[in-house]
Amino acid sequence: MTEAWQQAFVRVPELLAAHVQLSFSALLLAMALCLPLAIWAARAPKVAAVILGFASLVQTIPALALLALFYPVLLGLSALLGGEISALGFLPALLALTLYALLPILRNAVTGLTGVAPAAKQAADGLGMTAAQKLRLVEAPLAAPTIMAGIRTAAVWTIGAATLSTTVGQASLGDLIFAGLQTQNWTLVLTGCFASAGLAIIVDTLLGLIERAIRDRRKLVVWGSGAVIGIGLAIALLPMLAARGDVVVIGAKGFSEQFILARLIGSRLEEAGYEVRYQNGLGSAVVFQAVASGDIDVYVDYSGTIWTNQMKRTDTVPADDMVNEIAQWSASEHGVTMLGALGFENTYAFAVRPEDAASRRLTTLDDLARISSDFAFGTDLEFLERPEWEMVKAAYPIRFKESRSFNPTFMYPALSSREVDVISAFSSDGRIAANGFVVLEDTKGAVPSYEAMILVSEDRSGDERLINAIKPLVGAITVENMREANYKVDREADKRSPRQAARWLDEQIRNGKDQ
């Protein structure tokens, strides 16, 4: 257990620094926007209604959705501006968090400024203060404690919401939480939670101290707390000063196989002398755009996903033809190189409990369709929205009693514990065999092939050293080895980290080559 904690803690400093950089930048930007707006709003009630209305509206959008929405928006902007804007990572996270921080800062600043005693304002006018002097000498100092309270609320919200920026590829303490959730590594989840909660508590305490000190006019405490925050920030910003060499960014979607393969590619690149960075937990739709726009350099995708989601194809062709067509399409449309298939497939496999398969005589999807009205369907978070599901429904008259979406980690236990009766499992997942689940045959070939394949961005396609470093992985991974590597990470007991599983997989590949 201590080793697991150690492994988790090793990642904290770097992620904490990224988390602080992101939250602080968002807070600073929100303050820069809000304070002038609040001054305007405090003088014009109609403006206040409009601005506060907008900020409240933003607040009703879930933070996760807000982050996701910035991806297509920035992608569109980037297309307009000639591709100079990165639609993944820091920028969308910054913008979403900034919008999220607007409401508390604005509301408190407007309340604070409008709440200044009329007598003080009248005296300021009577003494001949200009509008700027009145603001600086009277309104701002009197509204300061209220404004500070708003900034404090915004800071705590922002630090919490920043954990979600992992989903748009920005490093944060959320990386630990999301990765831990995917691989059932609760140590990792707890470490991420404690670190972000701890950060929030410390910042809240310091800002609270400043707020009270402003109220009581204790300048020393204000400066002291400010200095502590400043030192913390300086430490967090230090890594930014360190020169960044040539870093290869390896993308991964949000499940164990992707984490393992990303580490496998990463270790090969490190051997070849590259510095690598991982962007975990990218959504299926986002990740291809990311490699097309060069936000990530390399990742593993599956032929059927590109075929249906990106190429919008609904016809089914033989696996080899599909891979070739994808290679041509990605190169001509997006300049992305399809380096080759890894050698195994990870398709959607409809799995049921063995006792159901026996008692209801289920072997094919036709059999499943026959009894589907009795069955509850469990899927991952995206399957029901994917074209493959439409294709299955078109081929087989399936109509389930109910459908429920799960984080993939929880999909398998849900089937075991009878919460659902059939799941859209992943064929390379070790948990199918480990649980003895029965996979139903797709006799009509409705689900396209899902060959795992390496995709390389346009910028890196001409980098021979890089290509040569990862080329040996093509055709080198058997589905048995992949399942076992996945299971090492996914199983409940004696868990391995994705990096350890990748190392094991690498050994198998090298041994296979030697034989």
């Binding site: 007598a119 003080a120 005296a123 009577g126 203060m129 006019r217």
Partner: protein, 266 residues
């Protein structure tokens, strides 16, 4: 130019000044000459327009029509904040800045004018002038009583040595004893510094005691313009007489009480 020396306050001239708020006319075509160095009281009931008239002099309110001149300068031609810095302004709610020390409150006009030298000396001088102990300088406004706060208000208004003082119900929120002593002390200051002072009050007794000229306002117009002596003699009309009647009756009642009391003792 407006006089900024304390030698003598400026004369004020109002020419056909009118101020309306929508359909309501607060000040209705008033023309008025106020001599330099005079102490004028504007008396009237709530809503009679006396406060609006006062605020048109330092441009806290701009007239709808007409002109206001201070020592022959049209106030409209002067930037409002520049104008107000030359005029002392004291009002009922005082409006001390709660986040500043008494010393900084008093010196705020000097701070605005960018005068850096001699602020501490000036504060000490002003504290003495309004009869507050020197140790008040370092205190915060909330640590002072209402009467002490209004003394600071007067000191703050006098800090830049204005020739003209505008006072809007300055002693209205104070208890009678404090009010009386502060009013008396201000009257002495007015004479000592040679100020022109215009005070708004609804209290005729206060006006009679302080001012050398009393203007009685009603519905935006001046109904009476007289010295205290003329008002007390009852020769200036019904509106004025109604206002004077109250303190006169109170005074008569007190005297009568004193006499019967005295009679019993003897």
């Amino acid at each position: 130019m407006i006089s900024t020396s304390s030698a003598s306050g400026p004369a004020i001239s109002l020419k056909n000044v009118r101020r309306s708020y929508g359909t309501v006319t607060a000040v209705d075509d008033i023309s008025l000459e106020i001599a330099a160095g005079s102490f004028v009281a504007l008396v009237g009931l709530s809503g009679s327009g006396k406060s609006t008239l006062l605020k048109m002099i330092n441009r806290l309110v701009d007239p709808t029509a007409g002109e206001v001149l201070i020592a022959d300068d049209n106030v409209r031609a002067i930037d409002p904040h520049v104008l107000r810095r030359r005029i002392g302004y004291v009002f009922q709610n005082i409006g001390l800045f709660p986040h500043m020390t008494i010393s900084r409150n008093i010196a705020i006009g000097l701070e605005l004018a960018g005068e850096k030298d001699g602020r501490a000396e000036r504060v000490a001088e002003l504290l003495e002038l309004v009869e507050l102990p020197q140790e008040m300088a370092g205190r915060m406004p909330h640590q002072l009583s209402g009467g002490q706060q209004q003394r600071v208000g007067v000191a703050r208004a006098l800090a830049t040595r204005p020739g003209l003082m505008l006072m809007d119900e300055p002693f209205g929120a104070l208890d009678p004893v404090t009010r009386d002593s502060l009013a008396g002390q201000y009257k002495a200051l007015h004479e000592k510094l040679g100020l022109t002072t215009i005070i708004v009050t609804h209290d005729m007794a206060e006006a009679l005691y302080l001012a050398d000229r009393i203007l009685v306002m009603e519905a935006g117009q001046i109904k009476a313009d007289a010295t205290p002596a003329e008002l007390l003699s009852g020769s200036v009309g019904d509106e004025a007489e109604a206002l004077v009647a109250i303190p006169r009756a109170q005074a008569a009642h007190l005297i009568a009480l004193g006499n019967t009391d005295g009679a019993k003792k003897t």
